[in-house]
């Protein structure tokens, strides 16, 4: 079984829970770290491991309030990685959550969905 990844959210970094046991794969909160590459490194490493030992039917949930442009690059990197795993034959899904009134976040989700093939669901709440 893949390791669990658990990073507690702060005022400028998102909470990350990748838990195969509980079947929860979630990024939530705000992403505006000073050093995005360094912050998201454990996430990218976890995904690299997933690529070598895929788990079928994972649903990655993005529940971000907002993110800076530097984070948008890493979010894309995450999506592209999940997309690679999906393209290699493992069923995967992305769920992009946004507050109904948040047009910017909805639009960001739509734009990300256009850049990948993996099933991508926009969820208003």
């Amino acid at each position: 079984m893949a390791k669990e990844l658990n990073i507690v959210g702060t005022e400028d970094t998102p909470g990350i829970v990748f838990d195969p046991q509980k079947n929860v794969f979630e990024l939530s909160g705000r992403s505006l770290p000073e050093d995005v590459v360094s912050f998201y490194k454990p996430v990218m490493e976890w995904l690299d491991e997933l690529e070598s030992k895929p788990i079928a039917n994972l649903e990655f949930s993005f529940k971000l309030d907002y993110f800076n442009t530097a984070s948008s690059k890493l979010i894309l990197d995450i999506l592209l990685k999940v997309n690679d795993i999906f393209s290699d034959g493992t069923p995967m899904k992305i769920k992009w959550h946004f507050l109904t009134m948040d047009k910017d976040l909805e639009e960001a989700g739509e734009e990300f969905s256009e850049l990948v093939e993996v099933p991508f669901e926009l969820v208003a709440y």
């Binding site: 505006l32 000073e34 800076n68 442009t69 009134m101 910017d104 734009e111 850049l115």
Partner: protein, 196 residues
């Protein structure tokens, strides 16, 4: 030496000066000013301060979100630049302001940049200002995928993002300080009333 004149200019702390500064702020519709050291910690502090302030004033959610997003980009850009320039030691410290008029909120930043960076920055902002929202969307996508805006990276995509969120023209000015540096001032407007 004219000691009397030096005494006057050397101690500008008469309350009258503060009153005039306050008036100047009001005339220019400035409601918040911060000048000094910029860092991630400062970004978080100013953001928290502004969030609390605007929550009390009950701004529309969409307007608040745009302001916070743009603010973060501006503050983080200043922080990044401040690492390159010794802003505090050599004077002309960066400044960030928030203004409020009947129809708009405006976010203003001013910080020192090397003169060699001006042409590229000017081109980017002019290019972004010439585009409509669909054009900006395409440009953002293009830069997001390719990873570069013109030749150099860095603040490229941030300018596009701020223009998209602002939905208004970005106003900028370069004020030459000397052969090496200029002050780069940027004013970004957010409508107080969403047109959705």
């Amino acid at each position: 030496m004219d000691n009397q004149a030096n005494k006057v200019t050397a101690s500008p702390k008469s309350l009258n000066n503060f009153y005039h500064f306050h008036q100047l702020m009001e005339e220019n519709e400035i409601i918040m000013v911060y000048a000094g050291e910029f860092s991630q910690a400062l970004t978080k502090t100013l953001l928290a301060f502004t969030e609390r302030k605007f929550n009390v004033e009950q701004l529309e959610d969409n307007v608040k979100r745009k302001i916070y997003n743009i603010m973060v980009e501006m503050l983080q850009n200043i922080s990044k630049n401040a690492l390159d320039n010794d802003q505090i030691i050599t004077g002309n410290s960066p400044i960030f302001m928030i203004g409020e008029s009947t129809d708009f909120y405006f976010l203003i930043s001013s910080n020192k940049i090397g003169n060699e960076n001006i042409p590229m920055l000017k081109n980017r902002i002019d290019e972004v200002n010439a585009l409509d929202s669909e054009g900006l969307k395409q440009l953002y996508k293009q830069v997001r995928i390719n990873g570069t805006f013109s030749k150099v990276g860095g603040a490229g995509i941030g300018v596009i993002d701020m223009a998209r969120k602002s939905e208004n023209t970005l106003v900028y000015e370069f004020t030459r300080l000397d052969d090496q540096y200029s002050m780069y001032s940027l004013l970004i407007k957010v409508s107080r009333n969403s047109l959705v």
